[in-house]
Assembly symmetry: C2
Homo-oligomer: 430 residues x 2
């Protein structure tokens, strides 16, 4: 006998859960539409190679991967970018640029089991491909912030922390960090908020940084943009990046998101392939994991698909955002009810009642009727219990005069309405 | 270098494919809403047991199944019903009946590779749980037909062929077919349209039916309801089923679907668990596989979840329906374009232009702007080339007087508009 629950880390969506999921999806899609993005989607199952090529063999430990019945090594997709690169790589020459694409697909990771750690989530991916200007970076972050705004959140609820890989890289090189040491230093900086300072210094010394270089590297993470400008006033390439960041921040202010954004050089994003602006959006209270993160990855298409196009994008999951909405009392309430219940007052009226059901549905109303023959009182009670607001009573005497009785189940009031006026009456009342 | 295609049998959805998919999803959801169904969803990955318990061990050959990193036997879902039974089984006591639920999820089967045979498809599932009345069966089929109507299809395009397992069973028992022989006889009848008559007779003789019983069994498949009524006039239980079918067909007529439905005793549905009315919807031209199929399965909840509730439902895939829409010229055309492109006529106007972009987006318009600084002529040409209908030109002289220039990219005409009137002007023009 089946008494299985869903697999650990997988969610069942009962109707009230679907309502909350739809609230998030509606905001995702509406923001994407307003920003001129087109929707795409790919298969949830892909060749394992696709993920190994992008992220290296260690990714396999985190995947739902297997050999299919045709001997293919396959995996449930853990992220959308490889599918995007594959799909765009195949058609890049045909498509006018910039390409603005979004998707809202389900991702899967075999995460170690922890409280609140899921093994699937839905993710909005928005990417702009074929554009080097930082105005595209600003537009992309504005789209992510617009999702929050559409959901009723404000700059008091969330903050986008932004940085630029080029700034950090050039500053670290100026300090004396070598190309080979950079990935580890990024990693230490990425984790510096959650790890003791001594531990960070130790990790930097372990890869060969001098005590002074290690200290200076960590100090970078607390610098403001002005401090960067003063410190590197003589460095032309750093100054150019700082000018671009000014333009980027000015654009976000013009979009009305000035208060939502702060420069924070601790943001490097874990992934190796970012090449420019990077950002993460957080709950202001700092209680939750990052809500959304992304940035510019200008070299990935060349590495993975052999086409040299600049690109930027983000992933924006449904789980942390859902927690934030609940926490702020903004999660959508589920409404389980039809607009109207049509009730035949006796057996002879059933076919007439069904005809009215069909007419009302074709006018766009949500309409139910009792499947089982019961008394009118019981049918009314059950309709009211289900939250239905109005009932249409179809009786022989009224119908002989072309009428039905329309009952307001909330107020308890009744009125006779001509059948031919019923659609107009109900549609105007909705 | 990644040059992988999607896995065989899996689809990539480019934006034009998403448009066609959305057309079908919109009709599915709209029909479900009008009929008072609530949406649910479950995980695409489930315990393998769930499918083996319902369909027997041979189902495994058709599944994408594997052992996960925690040693669990799991499978990508091939159908929704086991998930529905699992989810409802867990909460059946809390929910008011009848329960009307729908989902629009992706299904996976490791099908033998054939032209046009996919290994995934999306499927509308609609189920009514906790109701014995055949009015529920009529409502369910009407919902499936409403999807077609919403898409512009008519009774000239599709037909629902309906039958009743009870009728067939009782008629076969009257002919002398035993309980053990029934599944094979169903199977032969199910395939009788595509197999030579001799082959059908042979298969029936092989399981021990007399030549006469075999002939009579096959003759059943061509009988009309009237012929059933005449042949089994003395059989009370068959007469009761026939009365119920009359009521069922009358309800479908009252719903306006009289022309869409025909009785056809060849329809048995392959699956063993159906217990009452069964139906399949076909292209009238008979060129395509079944579009949608379902019926009543009153014993399945007891067998799988240990709760005795009657139920009925159908599965309705996106692939055959999509072929039919294309064939009839009804497939949605893809529109790749924003409503408006906002162009700064020189660099000093960029921040003002971005402010206007933000205002228009917040008014609900789909708005883009050139990321790269180019001449106005080039920007206009590129916007027109992308199908954008209107451009807003933000220049210093006009803006000094509170104006912008609104250009109709189709007509080539221009007008000066007050910035404060722009939203109203554009929204009214949409």
């Amino acid at each position: 006998m089946t008494r299985h629950a869903a697999l650990p880390g997988f969610r069942d969506f009962y109707p009230e859960d679907v309502s909350r999921k739809k609230q998030i999806f509606d905001a995702w899609r509406e923001a994407a539409r307003r920003f001129g993005f087109e929707e795409y989607d790919g298969p949830p199952l892909e060749s394992l190679h696709l993920y190994v090529e992008k992220s290296g063999p260690e990714i396999v430990n985190q995947l739902f991967n297997f050999t299919d019945k045709g001997g293919r090594e396959v995996a449930l997709r853990p992220e959308m970018t490889p599918t995007l690169v594959r799909m765009l790589g195949a058609r890049i020459k045909e498509l006018p640029r910039p390409i603005r694409w979004f998707s809202t697909s389900q991702m899967f990771r075999y995460e170690k089991q922890q409280r609140g750690r899921l093994r699937e989530h839905f993710q909005l991916n928005m990417d702009i491909v074929g554009e080097t200007s930082l105005l595209a970076d600003a537009d992309l972050l504005a789209a992510a912030l617009e999702v929050h705004r559409l959901l009723g959140l404000s700059a008091e609820d969330v903050v986008a922390r932004i940085s630029d890989r080029r700034l950090l890289q050039q500053a670290l090189v100026a300090i004396g960090v070598s190309e080979e040491q950079l990935p580890t230093v990024y990693n230490v900086i990425d984790k510096s908020e959650r790890e003791p300072r001594d531990e960070c210094i130790k990790r930097l010394r372990d890869i060969g940084l001098s005590s002074e270089a290690a200290e200076q590297s960590l100090e970078l993470t607390t610098k403001s943009l002005d401090e960067f400008r003063r410190t590197y006033a003589g460095d032309e390439s750093i100054s150019r990046v700082l000018d671009e960041l000014d333009q980027y921040l000015a654009a976000l202010s013009s979009f009305g998101f000035g208060d939502w954004v702060m420069f924070d050089p601790k943001i490097v994003r874990g992934l190796a392939y970012y090449t420019g602006v990077v950002f993460e959006i957080f709950d202001r209270k700092g209680r939750l994991r990052a809500i959304c993160g992304g940035g510019r990855y200008d070299d990935l298409f060349l590495a993975l698909a052999g086409v040299d196009v600049p690109a930027l994008g983000f992933g924006f999951g449904d789980v942390v955002l859902g927690e934030l909405l609940k926490d702020r009392g903004l999660a959508r309430q589920h409404e389980r009810c039809a607009d109207v219940c049509v009730i035949a007052v006796n057996d002879s009226m059933i076919q007439e009642a069904l005809g009215i059901v069909a007419d009302l549905r074709r006018a766009g109303l949500s309409v139910v009727f009792p499947y089982k023959r019961t008394g009118v009182g019981k049918a009314l009670k059950s309709a009211a219990g289900a939250g239905t607001r109005r009932a249409v009573l179809v009786g022989p005497d009224e119908l002989a005069e072309g009428d039905i009785v329309l009952r307001d189940l909330t107020a308890g009031s009744e009125q006779r309405v001509k059948v031919r006026d019923l659609v107009a009456e109900l549609v105007s009342a909705e």
